[in-house]
């Protein structure tokens, strides 16, 4: 990676080159490819609140609108040609069916202006049912391929979600944990965009072997994205999210492989 290739974008995101393509790591957690007009967001987990309510835990039902409002702000700011939802857009297969009327209307309005592309994830294998736009297993954007789950081993040019990366740094005896992008300039993992989504520390073994060069984290601060070197990132203690993630991984990898178009 070259020094002048990473710089602050006007919105205080980080501008960089990903496989040679201009890319901006946005404060919102979205990936913006300005030369291609593509805005990509991963792991929205819409209707996570209502998924818990079904089981008797009445989490506030406002997560979907909170997440959509952030997405709408990005669309208004950047006027993309295409918005790519990189999988796990809904927390479960029934999520799209539980959308409140006005939330559904917002997505329909957005579809009237930009091309919506839904990548299927392990939480929403069928994609976005009953919503405008097309569902795919993966989609190319210049030299970059957008997928849900990162394929194991090196995959230059791949941008994925699924892992919900977050990172922890410490200074002055205190530590700060934040959602983050993880990249080595050839490959990128996006943070989860959803309002209720947790995070998996980038030092977890789930990230092992994904990067050819030592990656760095784009940690999301209040109004900017901070580039932090790998050596500064601290591991986590207990993390049950990790176990869940691993269990979820296997079947979807196979499902994705079979679903992929030749």
């Amino acid at each position: 990676m070259n020094a002048q290739l990473v710089r602050r974008s006007p919105c205080q995101g980080l501008a960089m080159r990903l496989m040679g393509e201009a890319a901006v790591l946005r404060c919102s957690g979205a990936l913006w490819l300005p030369e291609l007009g593509v805005l990509a967001v991963a792991d929205l987990h819409l209707e996570k609140g209502s998924a818990f309510a079904v089981r008797g835990q009445m989490l506030p039902p406002y997560d979907t609108r909170a997440t959509l409002a952030r997405l709408e702000a990005e669309v208004a700011d950047l006027t993309p040609r295409q918005v790519v939802f990189m999988g796990d857009t809904f927390h479960d297969g029934d999520g799209a069916g539980r959308l409140a009327g006005d939330d559904r209307a917002r997505l329909e309005t957005m579809a009237g202006r930009v091309d919506l592309v839904w990548i299927a994830g392990n939480h929403d294998r069928e994609g976005a049912q009953g919503l405008p736009g097309r569902t795919v297993a993966e989609i190319g954007a210049g030299a970059i391929t957008l997928v849900h789950e990162p394929t194991l081993g090196e995959a230059p040019g791949q941008a994925a979600g699924h892992l919900h990366p977050c990172a922890r740094v410490a200074a002055h005896g205190r530590s700060v944990r934040a959602r983050c992008f993880l990249t080595d300039g050839e490959r990128l993992i996006l943070p989860a965009f959803g309002a209720y989504t947790g995070g998996l520390n980038v030092r977890d073994e789930a990230y092992a072997g994904l990067f050819r060069q030592t990656p760095w984290a784009g940690m999301i601060g209040r109004d900017r994205v901070h580039a932090v070197a790998w050596g500064k990132l601290l591991p986590e203690g207990a993390d049950q999210f990790r176990r869940k993630k691993r269990e979820a991984s296997k079947p979807v990898s196979m499902a994705m492989r079979t679903a992929r178009t030749p």
């Binding site: 020094a3 209502s50 009445m58 609108r65 207990a238």
Partner: protein
């Protein structure tokens, strides 16, 4: 004491039992019996050692003894509730013996979180006649199907140490549970047992069902205690919480006594003191350790050994504050300041449970401020002055939990349950509308956006009565009952197997999660009096292996968890400005005050001292309001916000019970302090800050857990504290934006402003010091500032500091790459 002929009120087995021991019942014990015969609710106020517990049970034992065992109605006759599990176990032991000696055929059993599954099942089928348990178990009983039938024979409920129970959310939940029992058994008699308090009227009001009269019975006062303060011959340290300097003297005091209780304020202090005492223990005195994190079995062993007289000292936390004897304690040592006069009196009462001999206590201040505080506490205790608790309004998150519990137990009618709830004193003024709002929170989360109606947790049946939607919902509620939500705790287990393939062995105890976040693999620490090596965490288990010959990596203690009581703080301020009073202080502490006077300033009782000085590359602003840790934390947070706005660049702060320190990038010595400390910070600044603060998130998490909005335990695994924190933080952010007046946000704000932030106290202080700030501009740290400067703060700074930390780490990859 009474002569034999006055015992005529007692039936033979009882009078014979007293007579055989050459004892006579005390006046208050007979009054308690009279109250029972008159069917009156009763509150007994007596100092420790006055036969208080027996006084509570005598009426029940007499009542039961009048009917042969096989003719009594089946069911619990007397329910005894105490704040501590250990106390229930102990009281059971101390009750079983006289009952047996009197030849009474009464089944006495305990039931706590530690009670095994088999015994629990048996108790459900065949209840004991006297059941000793905790308020949390009562909340669980209320959520049982068939609770009403199970309590069909209930005659009396005894609430021991009620002065320690009535206040707080735990008291709210207990008051609601008692109202439920009263609904089951309208003639149920309530009996409260309390230590001496300043205003027994408040406790009597709390105890009373729906304002019914409560007979107050006063025990005889005990002999005044003998309280000494360890002067440590000119070696009282400037700072610290551990009182390490005094360990040899503490050890000597233990050697000269029969059985010593060494009280400390936190479990880590307990571990530390225990370790140091054993390092000095050349005589191999049996010294034990007792605190809430130790495995229950371990604590039982220590208690039994105390009772047998097999120990010479026990280092303990508040787990041994309450209760009757475990042994013949003749000295109580308070290691580090007691923080409140009531707590001190309670602890001193643990020595010598005989009214005719004085209790002996030794206070060991850990630093120079604490020397002042110990003096103040001693004077307050000798004058019989206690800290006051205000009356409270019942919390609504606790009510939510109770409503769900009732719904799990049996179907209820809204209006009837509202009437029942308002018979509990804390909820006396709760309107039906408020009650309905809480019921809606229970049912669907209480959201303006009504999308969850079809998933409601409680549903209205055709008969108009409400009940839990299904068995699974009820089951999950029962797993989550209780009003105390501590920091997340992890089980400490001795590891079996090798690295990479660890599995859990024996449970050594449990401890707060935050503690382990600061340890790295291979670090050594003290727990349960031993040195362990930290191997790693998996789920809610911490794996450790013994490291007997290692030097422990001493944990950083958080000092006292109790904030300095208001009345005690006032005394300390008075003592500092009263030079004649300094004569009671040891020479080194006097010199320290004189140094402060010479180099900086000694504030008078109405003034607040502020000092500013540069040190290293930073500027320090010190303030000394003496208002306790909580109020200081709030003040520091608000000041940080202001300083941030003023462009001074605050980097962090620490607080103690006595003062606070904020360090900044830019100088603070020319700020307008009257403006900085202006009371208007409690307006918009407080609101704005609270909404974003970590404390508010913590308060919200607590309310969400207590109310049942979030479940801590779900079938198939418990969430650890951090996992719960993480998700509730996200929920908090979303809820705050979309429904800022939500019931739980209001609960959280009230909790945070009260218990956690001490806003009321801060407000009084800011009013008091208006125009009375004494500012000294210094070149180097003052005598008063040293204790604060050596302390490590654990509270996060809000505002832009979070980004500052990220910023600092964001050393540019760029530069490194460009140079490569």
């Amino acid at each position: 004491m009474l002569r034999g002929d006055e015992m005529s009120g007692l039936p033979p087995p009882f009078s014979d039992w007293f007579a055989a021991r050459g004892w006579a019942p005390r006046r208050h014990q007979l009054e308690m019996i009279a109250a029972a015969q008159g069917g009156e609710h009763a509150l007994l106020i007596a100092p420790t050692g006055g036969g208080k517990t027996l006084a509570g049970f005598l009426p029940s034992l007499i009542g039961l003894s009048r009917t042969p065992a096989d003719q009594r109605p089946q069911g619990v006759h007397t329910l005894y509730l105490s704040p501590l599990k250990a106390l229930s176990v102990d009281v059971a032991r101390n009750l079983t013996t006289p009952a047996f000696e009197m030849g009474l055929d009464v089944r006495i059993e305990t039931r706590t979180g530690d009670t095994g599954q088999a015994k629990r099942q048996r108790q459900k089928v065949l209840p004991p006649e006297i059941l000793l348990t905790t308020p949390e178990q009562l909340a669980l009983f209320c959520a049982w199907e068939g609770a009403r039938a199970w309590f069909q024979a209930l005659d009396t409920v005894v609430i021991d140490e009620v002065h320690a129970l009535w206040h707080g959310k735990r008291g709210d939940l207990l008051a609601l549970g008692l109202a439920r029992l009263q609904a089951f058994r309208p003639n149920l008699r309530r009996v409260g047992l309390s230590a001496t308090v300043d205003d027994p009227g408040k406790i009597a009001a709390w105890l009373s069902p729906g304002g019914a009269p409560v007979r107050r019975i006063q025990g005889d006062p005990g002999t005044p205690a003998q309280i000494d303060i360890l002067m440590s011959g000119g070696r009282v340290p400037w700072a610290g919480h551990t009182a390490e300097h005094a360990m040899e003297e503490v050890y000597e005091a233990i050697r000269r006594s029969r059985l010593t209780l060494v009280f400390v304020n936190t479990r880590w202090q307990a571990e530390f003191a225990f370790q140091r005492l054993w390092a000095l223990n050349e005589d191999d005195l049996p010294i034990a350790l007792h605190h809430g994190s130790l495995a229950a079995e371990q604590r039982r062993k220590v208690e039994a050994a105390m009772a047998r007289g097999a120990l010479r000292a026990v280092v303990c936390t508040s787990t041994l504050d309450l209760g009757i004897d475990w042994g013949d304690v003749d000295l109580v040592i308070q290691l580090a300041a007691p923080k409140g006069a009531s707590r001190l009196t309670q602890r001193i009462g643990r020595a010598n449970h005989r009214l005719d001999e004085p209790s002996r206590a030794l206070l060991v201040p850990a630093n120079r401020f604490e020397m002042l505080e110990c003096q103040a506490a001693r004077e307050a205790a000798l004058e019989g002055s206690y800290d006051q608790e205000p009356m409270r309004t019942g919390t609504l998150d606790t009510l939510a939990q109770h409503i769900m519990g009732v719904a799990c137990g049996e179907p209820f009618e809204m209006e009837a349950l509202h009437r029942e709830v308002t018979s509990a004193e804390p909820y006396r003024d709760l309107s039906y509308e408020q009650f309905e709002e809480v019921a809606d929170l229970v049912a669907t989360g209480g959201y303006a956006l009504r999308t969850y109606d079809r998933f409601a947790r409680i549903v209205k049946g055709r008969d108009g009565r409400w009940k839990a939607r299904n068995a699974m919902i009820a089951q999950r509620h029962r797993m989550n009952v209780g009003a105390i939500v501590g920091a997340g705790t992890l089980n400490i287990r001795q590891a079996i197997g090798r690295k990479g393939r660890l599995s859990g062995g024996r449970k050594v105890g449990e401890a707060e999660e935050w503690y382990f976040e600061q340890l790295s693999e291979g670090d050594t620490f003290i727990f349960a009096g031993q040195v362990w090596r930290f191997l790693g965490i998996s789920g809610t288990d911490v794996f450790v292996t013994p490291a007997p010959h290692s030097e422990p990596k001493i944990p950083s203690w958080g000092g006292s968890k109790f904030p300095l009581a208001t009345s005690l703080a006032e005394r300390v301020r008075g003592m500092i400005q009263d030079r004649e009073h300094w004569a009671v202080l040891p020479e080194d502490v006097r010199e320290w005050l004189e140094l402060q006077e010479r180099k900086s300033h000694i504030p008078d009782a109405e003034e607040m001292l502020v000092e500013t000085f540069p040190r290293g590359s930073r500027w320090f602003l010190m303030a000394y309001p003496f208002e306790g840790r909580l109020a200081h934390t709030t003040l520091a947070m608000l000041l940080t916000r202001r300083l941030d706005r003023m462009g001074v660049g605050p980097l962090g702060f620490v607080v103690s019970d006595y003062g606070l320190s904020i360090w900044t990038v830019e100088p603070t010595d020319s700020l307008d302090l009257d403006e900085l400390f202006d009371q208007d910070m409690l307006g918009d600044d407080l609101d704005a800050w609270m909404d974003e603060s970590f404390l508010m998130k913590r308060a919200f998490r607590n309310c969400a857990l207590v109310s049942g909005l979030i479940e801590r335990r779900v079938p198939g695994g418990e969430k650890t504290g951090r996992q719960v924190t993480f998700s509730t933080d996200l929920i908090y952010d979303v809820l705050r934006r979309h429904q800022p007046d939500h019931l739980l946000l209001r609960c959280a704000r009230a909790d945070a402003a009260g218990g956690m932030l001490d806003v009321g106290r801060l407000s009084d202080m800011l009013a008091r010091i208006r125009g009375r700030i004494a500012h000294t501009r210094l070149e180097r740290p003052s005598a008063f500032s040293v204790p604060l400067l050596t302390q490590i703060g654990r509270e996060r700074v809000g505002g832009s500091a979070q980004d500052l930390i990220l910023e600092r780490q964001a050393e540019a990859i760029l530069i490194a790459e460009a140079e490569a």
